[in-house]
Amino acid sequence: MPAHADGGVGRSGRDERRFLPTRRELVLGGLCLCCLPTLAHAAESFTMEEVGPGIFIRRGPHEEATPENNDGIANIGFIVGRDGVLVTDSGGSLADGQWLRTEIVKRTDKPIRHVVLTHGHPDHCFGATAFAADGPAFIGHHRLRALLDARGEFYRTRLADILGREKAGSAVYPTQEVKDGAEIDLGDRTLRFTAHGAAHTTSDLSMLDARTGILFPADLLFVTRVPSLDGSLLGWLKEADKLAALGVARAVPGHGPAIVDFAPALADLTRYLSTLRDETRKAVADGVAIEEASQTVGESERGNWALFDDYNERNVTEAYKELEWE
């Protein structure tokens, strides 16, 4: 579980005592953070890159959440259409989302009509609070609600511990749930959504811009940052095959460069996941215990990924839990 590319606010590593929030804190977290002033200045070093006509992406650094980066560690951005703006993703915190919103209004006065929640990890979706006042449709996987029910409050508390409560934001539920597929028309461009089976998480949503043919796989595609497994290893490999079959040339990954050639980037991801699968299966079959496996599986991939030591061991644990029941 988790805590994976969830902005590094997951289940280990810090020594705070955690307590259940009071009702007042929950109300604050749920409703009012969007009214607070922007406190984000650290994000000024971030820049937007126009990766296609009307498509603007901010590349997230390969870091964990810190007070300096406002958990702005994922690739986030927006698409401008004739009738309005679609945001995907919204940012890693309220502060990161507010930064993105400022970048949008610098470039267009069109209304922000859609905010995509590609999955439930806070580094992607906690910026959504910054757009609440725009009244957009929040688009998410039909299983995102259950994930946020289970984890939203946990993420909010952990993120608030790192950034401070006023900068953290909170989970926003989808108002438009995607069961299998969906389309959104921005007037002069259509965006096609696919709700995936359990893969990176249990609520992954990808998007294809029909006009440019650019795919937005979100965290189904990690580039140069080590993938984090929080859904299903076998499921992720299956969904990767489905994405490969689309035959698209370019994609905006959830982490890594703002835009990449899709096939080679996906091949790198698939190689890592296949190594994880094969070596974990072997460990299970050989009776190698989970703690030993987590120290040895995937070693050949160490040099290929940033933050390898922060995530690989946990990925092996996740993989082992899944594959030991085969």
Binding site: M1, P2, G10, R11, S12, G13, R14, D15, E16, R17, R18, L20, R23, L26, G120, A146, L147, L148, D149, A150, R151, G152, E153, F154, R158, A171, T201, T202, D230, A285, D286, G287, A289, I290, E291, S294, E313, R314, T317, K321, E324, W325
Partner: protein, 275 residues
């Protein structure tokens, strides 16, 4: 089995009473030998073992645990008992968990109690104590310090319904030479969410009620292998490793029960060994 029930009651009382001192910042101290940690251990020891003396040991029981756990909701622990012919039972206690009593393993005549493995949740930087009870009733303890946090309140990421899917399903793996008559290593896996009553549900603004496995009885033929009394610190989908001596025809029988009256039984034969 009376002991197990009493134990659980004690552990819950203990959780309530001992949580309070942790609210202070001093609990953040990371030194395993901190006087406050020692005081806490003395308190836990007194609650669980009463007046019985619990002596430190460097050899009779050892704990292997990660110094820093990558996943606080699944911390693998290995316990080794050097004088395995003289082991009656083994306790695992996680000092700073909301309920420090994690598990009690009572071995029967068919056990080979040299090594145990289990996976636990750890909620805060904590000392973990393992206590071995010898056949003549003496208690010896050893300690390890583990850096992990949030393992008890860490959410599962799926709905209650999904987390309970397949509850009670079991799998058993055996390793070793079944024909040789020597001890076999067993891996027992049980599907169970082990809800600990601390995982938050945002919609209902409440925690999921606790529901966890509190007893597992393993026997081989007519002989007891091990009885495990468990509590809320055992990880989701519990996995235990232990060894036993397969005298006679078997089969190995496992009886699992949880705090909500759930009851599951399954038998396994050792003939089809995985290696």
């Amino acid at each position: 089995m009376g002991i197990g029930t009493a134990m659980k009651t004690l552990s819950l009382v203990l959780g309530l009473i001992l949580s309070a001192p942790l609210l202070g910042g001093s609990a953040l101290a990371t030194d395993a030998n901190d006087p406050e940690r020692e005081a806490r251990w003395q308190e836990i020891s007194a609650y669980i073992f009463g007046d019985r003396k619990v002596e430190p040991t460097d050899s009779l029981i050892k704990i292997e645990a990660p110094k820093r756990a990558m996943d606080a909701a699944l911390v693998p622990i290995t316990l080794t008992m050097a004088d395995k012919g003289n082991v009656k039972s083994v306790y695992l206690l996680i000092d700073d968990n909301p309920s420090p009593f994690a598990a009690h393993f009572t071995f029967g005549p068919a056990a080979d109690p040299g090594e145990l493995k289990l996976r636990v949740r750890i909620d805060a930087y904590t000392n973990v104590h393992a206590v071995v009870e010898t056949k003549d009733g003496k208690l010896f303890q050893t300690v390890a310090f583990v850096k992990a946090s949030g393992g008890c309140s860490a959410p599962m990421g799926v709905s209650d319904e999904e987390a309970m899917k397949g509850m009670g399903d079991m799998k058993m793996k055996f390793a070793g030479d079944a024909q040789g008559g020597g001890p076999l290593a067993a891996t027992l896996m049980v599907r169970h969410p082990n809800f600990n009553g601390m995982q938050m549900n945002l919609t209902t603004r409440s925690v999921r009620p606790a529901r966890y496995i509190n007893k597992i009885i393993v026997s081989y033929g007519d002989s007891d292998v091990v009885t495990i009394d468990g509590d809320i610190s055992i990880a989701t989908d519990p996995v235990f490793n232990f060894s036993f001596v397969p005298a006679g025809a078997g089969p190995m029988k496992v009886v699992v029960s949880d705090t909500e009256g759930g009851h599951w039984e399954q038998s396994f034969t050792t003939t089809a060994l995985s290696n």
